[in-house]
C-alpha cells in the first residue's frame, strides 16, 4: 500500500541524509521525496511517498519519529488530503506532431514553457494520475527528457458545521 508521509524537520546540515540513510539502511522504499524550508527558516517540510504493508509503515513511522532532527511525522494518506506534483516534459516534435502536442497540453491545462523547432517543453501540475496520464499520451510522440518534482501533499482542513465556519478566523500568530 502506498503511503504519503509528511515530515517536519530541522532545516540543518545532515538532516536529509539521516532520513535517506534510515530508508536505505533498513531496506525501506522511497518512491519520491521532496523537501524545502517552511515559513520558519529553521524548519523544513518533507513529503515522502513510500509503500509497504501495515507493519512496515508502522516501523517507518516509528523509526522516523526516533530521528532527533525530525520534529513531527504524519501519515497524510490516513486522512483526507490534496496532493500535487509538477513535471517538466520535453517532447520531441516532428512538424506533423506539433499541433497534437499542443492539443494534449491544452487538454491537461499544461503550459508550454519552452519551444524549439523540434521540441516543446511542457509543464504540468496535478495529482499523480493526471501527471501520469499526460506522460502516457505524450510518450508516442517521443519524450526526450522528463523531470518530476516528486509529490507534495497536505491534509485537507476538516469541514466544520456551518455556524462554526462563519465565526471570524482566529488571528494567526
Amino acid at each position: 500500500m502506498e503511503h504519503i508521509l509528511s515530515l517536519t524537520l530541522e532545516n540543518k546540515f545532515g538532516a536529509l541524509s539521516r532520513v535517506a540513510g534510515l530508508f536505505s539502511g533498513r531496506g525501506f522504499n522511497i518512491e519520491s521525496l521532496s523537501v524545502a524550508p517552511t515559513l520558519d527558516p529553521s524548519v523544513s517540510m518533507m513529503t515522502i511517498v513510500t509503500n509497504g504493508d501495515e507493519r512496515i509503515i508502522e516501523q517507518i513511522m516509528k523509526q522516523l519519529n526516533k530521528v532527533i532532527d525530525i520534529i513531527k511525522v504524519v501519515d497524510i494518506s490516513e486522512c483526507d488530503f490534496v496532493e500535487r506534483e509538477t513535471a517538466l516534459i520535453k517532447v520531441h516534435t516532428r512538424p506533423e506532431d506539433r499541433a497534437e502536442a499542443l492539443r494534449i497540453a491544452d487538454i491537461f491545462r499544461a503550459n508550454v514553457v519552452d519551444s524549439s523547432p523540434t521540441s516543446y517543453t511542457i509543464e504540468v501540475t496535478g495529482d499523480v494520475r493526471k501527471v501520469q496520464a499526460i506522460i502516457n499520451l505524450l510518450q508516442p510522440l517521443g519524450i526526450k527528457e522528463l523531470v518530476r518534482t516528486g509529490r507534495i501533499a497536505m491534509g485537507r482542513e476538516p469541514i466544520r458545521p456551518a455556524q462554526a465556519q462563519s465565526r471570524p478566523l482566529a488571528k494567526a500568530n
Binding site: 530541522e10 541524509s17 516509528k62
Partner: protein
C-alpha cells in the same frame, strides 16, 4: 569568560562530571590534549588503539551508568573507533566520542587525514554533531551528553575541527537542554499498565523476559519486587545478566540460542510473556512464526521502534522500565490476593521438571584436559564473594560465561551482545577497572578474540589497570568450529588458529604477569594465584579443543527445538595432550 575551544571542551567535560577519558592523540587534536595535560580533574588514559579507547569508554559506561568518553583524532583515528561506536549503538551504551577534524576551511578538500566523520558515524551513532563555530561548542557538548544518556541510551559523536579547538569564544555552559525533535516517553500509559496487571493476574503460565533496558533504567529492584510478589519466573537475555540475581530461586537463567533448557521451554509454553527492556532479537526468538505460540505479549520499552518490530504485541507500553514497573507493582500490590506461590504451583511443577530434566551440565574427567565450562564454573565459585565485574569476548567462552557465572548485581556484566564484537572484552574490562580501581575485574576471553586487542596490555601496565584475563585457549575460533561441526560436516575452514602465541610470554613482554593453568588438578590453585597478583594478568588456560556449547537452538529453529548435546553421529577427535600445540595438528588431521 573568553576561552579557547580546547578550554571550553575541558570545562564542559568537568561540568558533566567526567573524571576519566580514553584517548589517543593526533595532529588536529593536539591543542585539546595540551589543555588536558595541564589540568588534574580529568584522567586521560592513553590507549594503544582507538578501538581500545572506544571499548574502554563502553566498559566504563556499562559499569558506572555514566557516559563513557573517548577522544580520538581525524581520519584513521575515526575509522578505528567505528567498531566500538557500532557496538555501543547496538547495545545502547551511553558513549560520547570526540573526534578531531581538519580545519573548517579544509573540510571537503581531501586534506591530510581527513575523513567524513559525520558520514562514517551516522549509521552507528544515536546522533552526531559537527561543530562549525566555537560559540556552539559548549551547547553542543551539553546536548551530546544529554542525548547519549537519556531515553534509550547510545553513542553520540562530536566532531571538532582543529580551528574550533584553537579559536576563542565566550564560555557559558547551559544548565539545561531541550531539543524539539527529541522527547523520550518515560511514563507508560496508566491504562495499558492496568491492562498488564489484569493480564498478569489472569495468566496461568507467565514469564518475565528481561533485557538490557532493565539495567539502563536501573529497574532491578522493581523487577525483583514484581517477580517475588507474583511468583513469576525470570528469563534473562545475554544483555540483562546481573539485572536479576542469577542465583535467585525465581531465575531460570539466560534464554535464547544458548540459553538454558528451562528458560526456552518456559517461553515457548507460557501463556503470558512480560517483556521488559528487551527487543525480541533473532537470537532470542529463533523462528519467529513459532515463537511463544500460546502467549499474550506485554512489551515494556522506552524505544517505540523496538515494539512490534519482530513479533506481535498485545499490550505495548512505551516508557521507562523503572517507572512502568513501579506503577505496575503499585497496582498489583493493591490487587494481588491469595497465595501467588500456591496459585502458580502447577506452572512451577512444570518448570522444575524441565529444570531437572536438562540442567546445564558438562563432564570433567578428573585426569583429562580442562573443560572450558569447568574453568569458568570454578572461577565463578572462587570469586563470587568478591562481587566481581566480568567481561567477555565473543564466542563459546562468552556463552559458557553467561551460563555458569551467576551474577548477583547489575552493572557487573560487560559483553558485546548486538554486534558480537571479538576484542571487546579486554578493553571493556579495563574501562570498568578505571572506574573502580579497587574492584575485582575479570575478563573471560577466547584465544581468537583476545588477539584482536592485545596491544592494550601496554595500557593496562602503564595505567595500572589490574584486570585478570583468563584466556580460554582452544586454539580454535571455537564457535565457528562448532557451527562447522554441526552444519558443515566438520570441515574446519579457517577456524583452526594453529600456533597461538605463548600468552604467558606475551604478557611478560609487556611487563604484565602471565600464568599458565594447564592441569585440572591445578585449576583452583591457579585461579587463586592469578587473583593474588596485584597487577594485570593474562592466565593462559589450554582447554579441551572440541567442546561444544549446549543447549543450542540452531539458527532458524524454534525455541523448544534445542540441541542438548553433540548429535550421536558427530565425529569428534579426542585431543590427548593437555597443553601441547603439537597435539593439535594430529587431532586436526584425524578430525
Amino acid at each position: 569568560m573568553q576561552l579557547t575551544g580546547s578550554e571550553i571542551f575541558v570545562e564542559a567535560l568537568k561540568r558533566e562530571g567526567v573524571d576519566t577519558i580514553f584517548a589517543l592523540p593526533g595532529g588536529v587534536v593536539l591543542k585539546i590534549f595540551d589543555v588536558l595535560h595541564q589540568q588534574k580533574d580529568i584522567r586521560v588514559i592513553l590507549t594503544r588503539h582507538e578501538q581500545g579507547a572506544g571499548h574502554m569508554a563502553e566498559g566504563y559506561a556499562k559499569a558506572t551508568g555514566k557516559a563513557g568518553v573517548c577522544l580520538i583524532t581525524s581520519g584513521p583515528g575515526m575509522t578505528n573507533v567505528i567498531t566500538a561506536l557500532a557496538d555501543a549503538y547496538m547495545d545502547s551504551v551511553p558513549v560520547v566520542a570526540f573526534s578531531g577534524q581538519v580545519p573548517t576551511a579544509l573540510i571537503g578538500n581531501d586534506a591530510f587525514q581527513e575523513a567524513d566523520n559525520i558520514g562514517l558515524s551516522r549509521p552507528c551513532t544515536k546522533y552526531n554533531f559537527l561543530v562549525k563555530d566555537v560559540k556552539d561548542l559548549a551547547q553542543t557538548i551539553k546536548e551530546a551528553f544529554y542525548i547519549a544518556t537519556t531515553g534509550r541510551p547510545g553513542p553520540v559523536l562530536v566532531d571538532i575541527p582543529k580551528d574550533i579547538s584553537m579559536e576563542k569564544g565566550e564560555f557559558h555552559y547551559p544548565s539545561s537542554v531541550s531539543i524539539r525533535g527529541y522527547n523520550p516517553t518515560y511514563d507508560g500509559s496508566r491504562w495499558k499498565i492496568k491492562q498488564a496487571a489484569d493480564a498478569i493476574l489472569k495468566s496461568k503460565r507467565p514469564i518475565l523476559y528481561i533485557g538490557g533496558g532493565v539495567l539502563f533504567s536501573e529497574a532491578s529492584a522493581e523487577v525483583k519486587e514484581l517477580a517475588e510478589m507474583t511468583h513469576i519466573p525470570v528469563d534473562m537475555t545475554l544483555m540483562a545478566l546481573g539485572g536479576f540475581p542469577g542465583n535467585h530461586p525465581l531465575s531460570l537463567g539466560m534464554l535464547g540460542m544458548h540459553g538454558t533448557y528451562v528458560a526456552n521451554m518456559a517461553m515457548h509454553y507460557s501463556d503470558l510473556v512480560i517483556a521488559v527492556g528487551a527487543r525480541f532479537d533473532d537470537r532470542v526468538t529463533g523462528k519467529v512464526s513459532e515463537f511463544c505460540p500460546k502467549a499474550k505479549v506485554i512489551h515494556v520499552d522506552i524505544d517505540p521502534t523496538s515494539i512490534r518490530k519482530n513479533i506481535h504485541v498485545d499490550i505495548p507500553i512505551v516508557g521507562d522500565c523503572k517507572r512502568v514497573l513501579s506503577e505496575l507493582n503499585n497496582i498489583l500490590r493493591a490487587t494481588v490476593n491469595g497465595d501467588q506461590k500456591e496459585q502458580r504451583k502447577p506452572w512451577w511443577d512444570q518448570l522444575n521438571a524441565w529444570k531437572h530434566e536438562h540442567p546445564l551440565a558438562y563432564e570433567q574427567d578428573p585426569k583429562g584436559q580442562i573443560k572450558p565450562q569447568y574453568l569458568i564454573d570454578r572461577l565463578y565459585h572462587l570469586t563470587s564473594d568478591r562481587d566481581p565485574i566480568v567481561s567477555t569476548d565473543v564466542g563459546q567462552h562468552q556463552m559458557w560465561a553467561a551460563q555458569y557465572f551467576k551474577l548477583k548485581n547489575p552493572r557487573t556484566w560487560l559483553t558485546s551482545g548486538g554486534l558480537g564484537t571479538m576484542g571487546f572484552g579486554f578493553p571493556a574490562a579495563m574501562g570498568a577497572q578505571a572506574a573502580f580501581p579497587d574492584r575485582l575485574v575479570l575478563c573471560i576471553a577466547g584465544d581468537g578474540s583476545i588477539q584482536m586487542n592485545t596491544q592494550e596490555l601496554a595500557t593496562a601496565v602503564v595505567e595500572k589497570l589490574p584486570v585478570k584475563v583468563f584466556v580460554i585457549n582452544n586454539r580454535f575460533h571455537g564457535m565457528v568450529r562448532q557451527w562447522q561441526d554441526l552444519f558443515y560436516e566438520g570441515r574446519y575452514a579457517s577456524s583452526y588458529l594453529g600456533q597461538t602465541p605463548d600468552f604467558v610470554k606475551l604478557a611478560e613482554a609487556y611487563g604484565a604477569a602471565g600464568v599458565r593453568i594447564a592441569d585440572v588438578g591445578q585449576v583452583d590453585d591457579g585461579i587463586r594465584e592469578v587473583l593474588s597478583i596485584k597487577g594485570p594478568v593474562f592466565a593462559d588456560v589450554p582447554v579441551y579443543q572440541f567442546e561444544n556449547c549446549y543447549p543450542m537452538i540452531p539458527a532458524g529453529g524454534a525455541n523448544h527445538e534445542m540441541l542438548l548435546g553433540d548429535p550421536p553421529d558427530l565425529k569428534k577427535p579426542k585431543g590427548t595432550h593437555p597443553t601441547g600445540v603439537q597435539a593439535d595438528s594430529d587431532t586436526i588431521l584425524t578430525a
